[in-house]
Symmetry: none
Subunit: 226 residues, 2 copies
DNA sequence: GTCCGTCTCCCCCTCATGGGGGAGCCGTGC
DNA sequence: GCACGGCTCCCCCATGAGGGGGAGACGGAC
């Protein structure tokens, strides 16, 4: 629990794309309890800004021209007393940079393709000290290992939440609209086996049914439209 | 001069980068006379989307993973009656792809680095039937490739295939993972009504179940991740 | 060796889903 | 006036989907 209850969450945006910053600002500023206090176009500018503005949360892009999000995260955590929470913003779910950023001490990551409500939620959660990892699946597990630095434990949780190869196969076919029976035929296994895998997928993704699983697959970037 | 004076220019965004789409949307939506009616993440999704949404202008990226802007342009002009104007979006001014796209029948191209005012202007111009080409050299070239056949009788059939407003509401909620009962609550109608709409949606989308419908919604750009 | 996770398959059970009909109401257009 | 389409709601009905238990085989880790 923090002072987020009575004071707005202050956020610093760090991204080299002006469009992304504008988008994030628009989304966040729409919330009464969130205030964007500054922007930076590169990781290199983060340290002085953090010192000056003392934001609760830094929304930081991983890929930036001068100083990337990982180095910037390390720099902030190493040099700033009482550092802000760091929310790593990325395009791809399976970005190696994300893992590195988490090892560097980031509190969570957020996909750029996340919906506004999810972005807002993410900021609130990290501000409250929750480790946040985007896919709903991982978010549940996020409760198990708490606080920062969410490095190794986060990674372990990610692995636990990760789909097995077979489960990924099944999910992939689910995203192509196949029924359980069709998936069974495709994978040359029994229908009961598919049901079993589907149940595992649903559990790991925190999905209630296959439709929600497919949505999660799209939203998380497991599959992309097109 | 067109009906742009009294009806907003409708635009479909096609780009594999959600951020670019978001940026373009932000820029264009800021104009009262321009309306972004849809988004797609790849050229492969353009055709059904154009048929459904019938935008005045398609802002199309050239470089996309599955079906690039050139092929997508050809496909649209070849298969869609009364096709929209096609505005090719590119990063580099001297992109060979641009020339190919123009030969394929695109109405103009637009640099991603263009300022908001230029982007808006470009959309208005192509909507008004102007060929828009940055370098003067290319302008001559595109003049040779004139307009395309305009057939209006197929419009009715296409409109019939389009989702009604209520059906679109239902599909939108389906893409959020809601069950029929939840959709009913959300829309404040009976569960039977929702079932009825869902059936219509499935029929129109050629989907066997709601999962396939959601997939179609993503693939067609009816909804986009992020 | 044992433990554990993955993959495979099986049982029973509930119920949301989707198809097949139909009906009334209301607005627009002819 | 009438027809038509959209929205609303109702019936019955078959079945796919998903939960909750298993279990055996295999392989790697300890």
């Amino acid at each position: 629990m923090t002072y987020a209850d009575w004071m707005p969450v202050t956020v610093l945006l760090v991204d080299d794309e002006p469009l992304v910053r504008a988008g994030l600002r628009a989304v966040l500023e729409a919330q009464p309890d969130i205030e964007v206090v500054g922007e930076a176009a590169d990781g290199a500018a983060v340290i002085p800004l953090v010192r000056q503005l003392r934001p609760d949360v830094v929304a930081m892009d991983v890929r930036m021209p001068l100083l990337d999000g990982i180095e910037a995260t390390r720099a902030v955590l190493r040099t700033v007393q009482d550092p802000p929470k760091i929310l790593v913003v990325t395009t791809f779910e399976n970005d190696e940079y994300v893992y590195e950023a988490l090892r560097a001490g980031a509190d969570g990551f957020l996909l750029k393709r996340a919906r506004p409500a999810e972005i807002v939620n993410a900021v609130r959660l990290v501000a409250d000290g929750e480790s946040l990892l985007f896919p709903a699946a991982v978010r549940q597990l996020a409760g198990e290992y708490g606080r920062r630095p969410g490095n190794e434990e986060a990674r372990a949780a990610l692995d636990r939440a990760a789909l097995t190869e077979r489960e990924a196969d099944v999910l992939r076919l689910m995203t192509r609209g196949l029924s359980n029976a069709e998936i069974a035929t495709e994978l040359i296994v029994g229908a009961e086996t598919v049901k079993s895998h589907v149940s595992s997928v649903l559990a790991k993704l925190g999905a209630r049914d296959r439709t929600q699983a497919v949505i999660a697959a799209y939203e998380s970037g497991f599959v992309a439209p097109g």
